[in-house]
Amino acid sequence: MIKIENISKSFDGVSVLENLNLYIRENEFLTLLGPSGCGKTTLLRILGGFEEPDTGRILFEGKDISLLAPNKRPLNTVFQKDTLFYHMSVADNIAFGLKIKGQTKSYIQDKVHYALHLVGLDGFGERFPDSLSGGQAQRIQIARAIVNEPKVLLLDEPLSALDLKLRQDMQYELIRLKEELGITFIYVTHDQEEALTMSDTIVVMNGGRIQQIGTPEDIYNEPQNAFVADFIGDGNIFDAIMIRDRLVQLLGAEFECVDTGFGEMNPVDVIIRPEDVELVSPEEGTITGVVTSVIFKGVHYEMDVLAHNYHWMAHSTKMAPEGSPVGIRIDPFNIQVMHKPIREDQETLVNE
């Protein structure tokens, strides 16, 4: 439905987006996920028409919309900041786009009513934005956008200003809204949990480039490089050597895995999720180590195991006491082998 072709953008000589290509299907919930400065918001603004790309174009249902003014584009944006019009009532805010289009009064009234109902704020029409809470204001912003029946709704970290509980509630509301409306959502966030919860497709970005595109399961279970592995969820990431197909060496020990096609004796990165680190008796383990700390996390224990000079993070519902020797075993299926980064943006973040 939307095709992004070779989009590049730089600000004052600093490159923000580098030759980006992306295809967005109709009716999907697509999330642009990445750390701040990765270019995700710039990409959204280019889609909305608030920034001009230096190169490349955007096709909407086959038509080039790159040069259209924002008001001529068949999409609407929900901004990160509260951008409600404070000199208008909530109803007038929602009606803004419809009034511009010259819709009839009764049509507008019905639409406003429906939109308020949809975001769960019936009866708020007569109020003014300064009497709304942050969550309510954000919902009105959404209502203001969707009354225009855009084919695509762009959402720029719309929940980042809300507290945790409200954010989680709103995540479910957004999913419900999307299903009710049947339109395409393009959602920008730096919150990996938010992305995993809501998306059909996640586009992980860093350094102005796409690192990986896939379903939440793909992204989590099969990260394609160290950056994605590190950014999504927790993980033990290793410098390793691919000895041959299905056999990898890390921390001096050899592990069986299921990956093929990485060559022989090639340096690779390996990620093992903490919940995939099996703690067994020392005799059963591929390698052995000592539990150095145990934290109770509610559903599971988070344990730090020092083995072969590496602090392994392990999640398990069974607790191994601090100081006890343990063996570590990994199911071959749970070892994810990745190519070494060829560019800086594919490496792990230093401070994460």
Binding site: N76, F85, F96, R144
Partner: protein
């Protein structure tokens, strides 16, 4: 210990309090005293009623008219400037804003006298016209010259509040309006203009009030041919006619100023633009 601390903020207001009692409150009381009494210190309405005299009434009407025209011209000139300034990057806008504020660094009388030299019968403009063999113009001592003086002198007072308010409007709010389908003109009319109302109102107040009461500009550029209410009051005081009548007319003028500000405040329910607040 606690008591001293709590009193401190109040103490800080002391110098200003003294100042305003000495130079605002007492003179105001004196004006009311003079305005409501005659030469024998008897109470009278006649000083206030002096406004009904046809010359004074004409001077007041002309002052209201010229001040209104000057205010409207200032608004029309200042709004686009403020809009452009607010749209510029901060470094550039500060520089250009300074260009507009620069004249304010020169003495008000000096600036007005400079205009006198430009507009005079044998002044700069007419000399140039003569050199070009074009017909000379009567510029000085016309209502137009007075309006010009008002606009020239008070324009910065319109630009500044407008610039301040417009530059505070969130760019993303404007972007949101565009996103919802408004073209640039609709965005201006429905978003920028209404959101800049507090600036418009304080700009109007800051231009209209001094323009209504001026006598210096009329003296210098009107050459005694244009008589505004400010000039009448000045003459009552300076040329020794009567402090009582002068004070009476001042009170009437003050009522007009307050009334016009109250009228403006009606369009500014938040009361952000004027001293007289609204009702919200």
């Amino acid at each position: 210990m606690n008591r001293i601390r709590r009193q401190r903020p109040a103490l800080l207001a002391g110098p200003y309090l003294l100042w305003s009692v000495a130079f605002t409150l007492i003179p105001l009381v004196l004006i009311f005293w003079f305005g409501m009494t005659d030469a024998d210190n008897h109470f009278t309405w006649s000083n206030l009623a002096a406004i009904g005299n046809s010359d004074n009434l004409k001077a007041l009407a002309l002052a209201l008219l010229l001040a209104a025209i000057a205010t409207v011209l200032c608004l029309l000139l200042a709004y686009p400037i403020a809009l452009i300034l607010a749209g510029l990057k901060s470094g550039k806008s500060a520089l250009i804003a300074m260009l507009f504020i620069l004249p304010m660094w020169m003495n008000f009388l000096l600036r007005t006298i400079a205009w006198q030299n430009l507009l005079e019968h044998n002044g700069v403009i007419n000399t140039i016209l003569k050199a070009l063999h074009l017909p000379e113009l009567i510029l000085i001592n016309t209502p137009g010259a007075v309006i010009l003086g008002m606009v020239y002198n008070f324009l910065p007072f319109m630009i500044l509040p407008l610039y301040t308010v417009i530059s505070k409007i969130d760019r993303e709010v404007v972007m949101a309006a565009r996103d919802l389908g408004a073209n640039s003109w609709q965005t201006f009319a429905r978003i920028t203009l209404p959101l800049s109302k507090p600036g418009i109102i304080s700009g109007i107040t800051m231009v209209f009030v001094p323009a209504l009461t001026t006598f210096v500009i009329t003296d210098l550029l009107g050459g005694g041919k244009i008589q505004l209410i400010g000039n009448t009051i000045e003459q009552e005081f300076i040329q020794g006619s009567s402090w009582h009548v002068g004070s009476g007319l001042s009170i009437v003028l003050m009522v007009f100023v307050i009334a016009s500000m109250a009228l403006i405040a009606k369009y500014d329910p938040q009361g952000t633009g004027t001293v007289i607040g609204g009702q919200r």
